[in-house]
Amino acid sequence: MKKNLRLLPFILLLTGCQSFLDVQPELQVDESQAITNGSTAEAAVNGLYNRLGSDSYYGSNFPAISYLSGGDIQWTGSQSDPQQITARKLTADNGYVGSAWSAIYKTILQANYLLETVPTLSDPQLTADRKNQIQGEAYALRALSYFDLARGWGGVQLILKATHTPSDNTGITRSSLDDTYAQVLKDLTAAEPLLGNTTNRNKVTRKTVWALRARYHLYRKEWEQAETYASKLIDDAASYKLTKPYNAFFANNAVATTESVFEIAYTNSFKNGHYNWWLPPALSGRREWAPNDKLVTLLNDPTVGGNRSELIAKTVPPGNLWYGKLYYRTPLGTDPAYVIRIAELYLIRAEARAQLGKTTTALADLNAVRDRAGVALSQASTKETLLLAIENERQVEFPFETDRWFNLIRTGRVAAVLGITDVNKYVLPIPNSEILADKALTQNPGY
């Protein structure tokens, strides 16, 4: 009996621990519990902006691909990826191109999640207006993402549903460029009525959609609509006007000025990567690239750059090296990323009007931008001279933003301006990693 008593503790030890293996993360949340109510939906839509502003997208890589390709920026660092882009000797292995592609599709996935989940939520805190607003933002940012893919890579595969399991979204082939753009328009059209007609420079509103549409129609050479949509913002002078002087939209830590239609906000905990590549080592960057002599000359020319010379500065002697200082703030990386500014809408409308033969009003729009920069007003009077003047204006107005390369490709002027005659190089290569992982995908010719 006594011996049997000794068995007792052992039996007690065997009593169960059924839920012992059910361990849940505390820093992350399972998808099923992620977007469940109003506040989590709001957080998830913020997550969409976070994706849009990631380093690989508007946080630096995507704009860099554009301005590095544009012939005005020189490669001054040690990394081979930006060197390839600057020299326009891109291969399908290029890391910048690969990570930008990947980041854009991550943004699209987040939008797809929101579009799939938010309509199903039932939370009294989440009003119909808020639901619409969130879906509108998701549509609009998906449109922006496909627009960026289209102008970068051409027609791409259209992923319009969320990916949950490995078998989702497989075997989708590339759509044509027209179909890709059609999706952009479809999403913008869907977004417009869902969004409020308010002004918010860090988030998408109906006005942001108009601005994106203006740019879309310009790229599609739909001049009347480009003019119409650009006018919707330019006419809203209470909300949007050109800041004067030029640097007022970024200097002295300015954020969300009237200049900005849509800029991405950063903090010390969510950084814009641009500073690292532009600033010289003495200012805590790498100066991996810098404005080249041609651009420095243009910006410093009072008749061309005007007060846009504030975009650049020189390191202290004996270095005396020019560097770009659009992204300059302390703490480092808190500079906004400029997605679309009112100056661009002026130049969109100027171009659309020039194309439509409205040379006088076109010139006025152009000169609004020139006037703000403190340069003499243009006297261009013909469509051709106006278009050239607008092209040149864009060069010095947006040298460190996402414009120059795509603009020259759009207008077909890239061969004339940059001497690049191989049309295969007018689009970026599809990243090798994507080609390897996705048998349904075809590479752009020439890569």
Partner: protein, 1065 residues
Amino acid sequence: MNTTSMKIPVHNVLKTLLLLAFITSQAFAQSRVITGTITGKDDGQSIPGVNIVVPGTNQGAQTDANGKFSIQVPPSAKKLAISAIGFVTQEISIDNRTTLDVALSSDTRQLSEVMVVGYGTQTKAEFTGSAVRVNGDAIKEQPVQSFDQALQGRAAGVSIAQPNGVLNNPPVIRIRGVNSISLSSYPLVVVDGIPINTGNVSASTAVPNNPLGDINPADIESIDVLKDAASTSIYGSRAAAGVLLITTKRGKAGKPRIAYETWVGASEVVRLPKLLNAEQFISIKNEAVLNAKILGGNATNDNVASALFFPNTNADGSAINTRWSDYIYRTGVSQSHNISVSGGTQSTTYYFSANYTDQKGFLVANEFKRKAARFNIDQEVTTWLKLRGSVSYNTSDNQSPYAGSLPGSNFFLVGAARLSIALPPNVPAYNADGSYNISKTNPNTIGMGNNLVVSNFGNPVALLDQNRFTSGNDRIIASFGATAKLLKNLDFATTYAIDRLRTDNVSFNSAIQGDGYSTKGSVTNVSAIRDNWNWTNTLSYKETFATKHAVSVLAGYDVQKFNNSAWGATRTQTADPFFDNYQGNWGAITASGNDLSERAYLSFFSRLNYDLNKKYFVTVNFRRDGNSALGTGKKYGNFGGVSGGWALGEEPFYKNSRLASTLTNIKLRASWGRVGNGNLSDSYSSLELYSGSLYGNAPTWAISQAGNQNLGWETSEQTNIGADLGFLNDRIQVDVTYFNNNVNGLILSAPQAVSKGIPGNSILGNVGSMYNRGIELGINATILRKGDFSWNAAFNYTNLNNKVTALADGNTDIVGTTHVSYETTNVTRVGYSVGSLYGAKTAGVNPDNGRRIFINGKDEKVQYSQVVAPGESQWTYLDGKTAAAITGADYYLIGNALPRWYGGLVNNVRYKNFDLSVNLTYSGGNLVMNGTRATLLDQRAYNNSTEVLTRWQKPGDITDVPRLIYNDQLSTGSSFPVSTNAEKADFLRLQNASIGYRLPTTLFSKIGLSSVRVYAQGSNLFLITPYSGTDPESSVNGNSNTTPGIEKNSVGQARTITFGLNVGF
């Protein structure tokens, strides 16, 4: 001399002893008394419990706790037989003596050895699996930081490589090869019953922190390596990569034994590459500059420089010629002290030890310190209840600069190994005024003096002086256990153990030089707690039926929980350079290094051993394992194994055969088992997760991981067939084993189309298969044993073949990268071994023009020139026509990166009081990518090795060094790996050699010392290898399964010489 007795099972010996004790109590008339002391020949320590009998009689006695005995012997007695477990039995003539002091030799025969197996022990005779025991003495004198580093070459089937020479870096341990692709291939390490944290717990890529360094090597009694499924399956899913069972020392009954062990040593760097001196550097670099000018069509263009490199002079006018390695490496002096006290009574035994070690590496600012204490106690409370307790407390602190040798660090511009070879020799470390030589225009780089170029690199002297990276542990490993005899033959054992590891990581980057420059200084403190507890309960039953059916059954369960929590912050923008601590005054702060995770294991297991007449053995294991990291519904798995043995040598028909006189012992064994692997590095891998971030200041949710609810176990089915052979009375013992390990359901990141937008572009799934097949051979031989001279040798050899048989989604290759995503160095491809070397195929240098020739994916020869005249192409076919550039699509599988054969040879020689030990290790059959050669031939402003002097200079030159063109980093392998840098990794290393001398007892016995031994030893004394780089064992990807065999910009192993002293009181 070697006779019987050791095959008697332990409990029979005990019975005999008791019987003898009874008998000896009855004195015989006219007999005489002989007294004496029995000591061990190896260490001079007295041995309690030695059995002394008069042969042919039933008279006997036992030594007491001090090794002393007293025996009544009849007048007729001529001899005494003296035997003890673990020692060779001796018969000594007594003549007329009344005192008799005998020194016993250790028994080298292993069949009587006790094997520690999962949740218990077995004798080697009963054991039918595959395992090796390494004695603690073999490692305690080695100048290592953790015991695992000292296991090189000591056990068949166990490959241990030192990926670099940074102190306390975890070695790469592979038991029977790589057994997974994405999960850890590090074996399970169990210390006194508790599985403990392994790997690298440092939060920094500068300083490693192997948590096994928290185990004082001098405390280790033995290490048992379990290799096959039959041995490991009791550990189920934890054991797919094998198991190391560590048993720490415990007390023995008797008077207190005090041992003091110490050594001092010096480490040096070896096999540094030969570099150009300043004069050669200037001429070579300017040749490249001039070539670039000419090839660019600028031969007559005065605006293009013909030379960019120029001499710099010291204050006295002499030319500066800096050997950077002199500033980066040093002779590191180390010392270690260990003191232990053990002893006890029949019911209580204890072992107490304290350890202090301070080891300085050959790399400046690399230093490892450990202070440790251990207390082990065993208490017999009643006849049926025994308690055992262990507490060890340890603090260790490791400091290292960026050596560029740890995983994910070899391309850092601050890596010391790279700086030592790449910096220009014609600039000084310090300016004439004693300040650091730092560029005035690019203040985060080295000053280039008269050279007209800017270097990317910093000044290593400033980096080593100013920056500081440490990772230190505070750790308690403690266990409490009880064994209760519930019924006759039925034992209950319980062990509760905790392993609480607190790691503090500090990374200080000064504003002066290095990674802190851009942020005006930065300091990151990350504190991590790894809290792990384990509770094991077993019931075991042992009975022998009808005298020949011996059965033992074990059943139990094991729960273990890991709670990991880490938090930290980075402060930047120093208020003043004075501050070099987190607590100082800084301008900005961000969170850093946060982690919070839990992992739970819950397992039930059982084992049945059966043997018939000690001739036929069967062991059956079963384990049901639960692991919280796996997918819902896949958390549990069933594993087990069966093994059998046949002691053919015990069969009468064999004993009578002629063969038996030579092949005295023969045992055949075979096992089959299935083990699992669920050692996911992330506790939540199966889940589809959202994680938070910020947009502006607003909180966000975004998808961060695509999960797979069906993520289940990797399983390996292991077959093991072997034989234990004893020749010439077991003077030569051979252990030969064939193994086949088929691993299925490998957890792999199935690459997903990027356009799906999934974070990481992959989802984990059980999609791959591979196998490891091979043969192990172990030979232990007493080569000579004659009088005072003995020579034992142990040789082991493993031949291993790894092949991947299936991968994810249409067998897509897995491309492995080294540090940066564009350095695609390895490929895992069906039909080849895991992590084969990968890169561009080269075909030498075109003798006509000095251009590197590559073979593209279409098998065409293309050549490259960094600089060409305007309008020409850098890439051309040999006929000059424009060719497409070599890209990832052209890379090919260069060769196998895993050793195909490896092993070691340990020799122990004793002569009188001298002992000599020589341990050789060897390995080969694989290639290693000598990425450092690419750095050494890089045509940027880097210095080069003297190999560059063999460069192509004129048509007709046959060489592998292309024509030098300034800024060319592609031709020699800096842009992407090239096959010409892949070299054979075969080597033979004198891992360790030591010579010791035991001072005669007469010299010091009066002052209370019982033994004194002095020794000298050296590690890594020579290396014979065709490999032209520093060390063919190097691996900059550490323990990675998919990227082995890459050496780039890293430090090799040290050569260490130590002098030691062991004193027993």
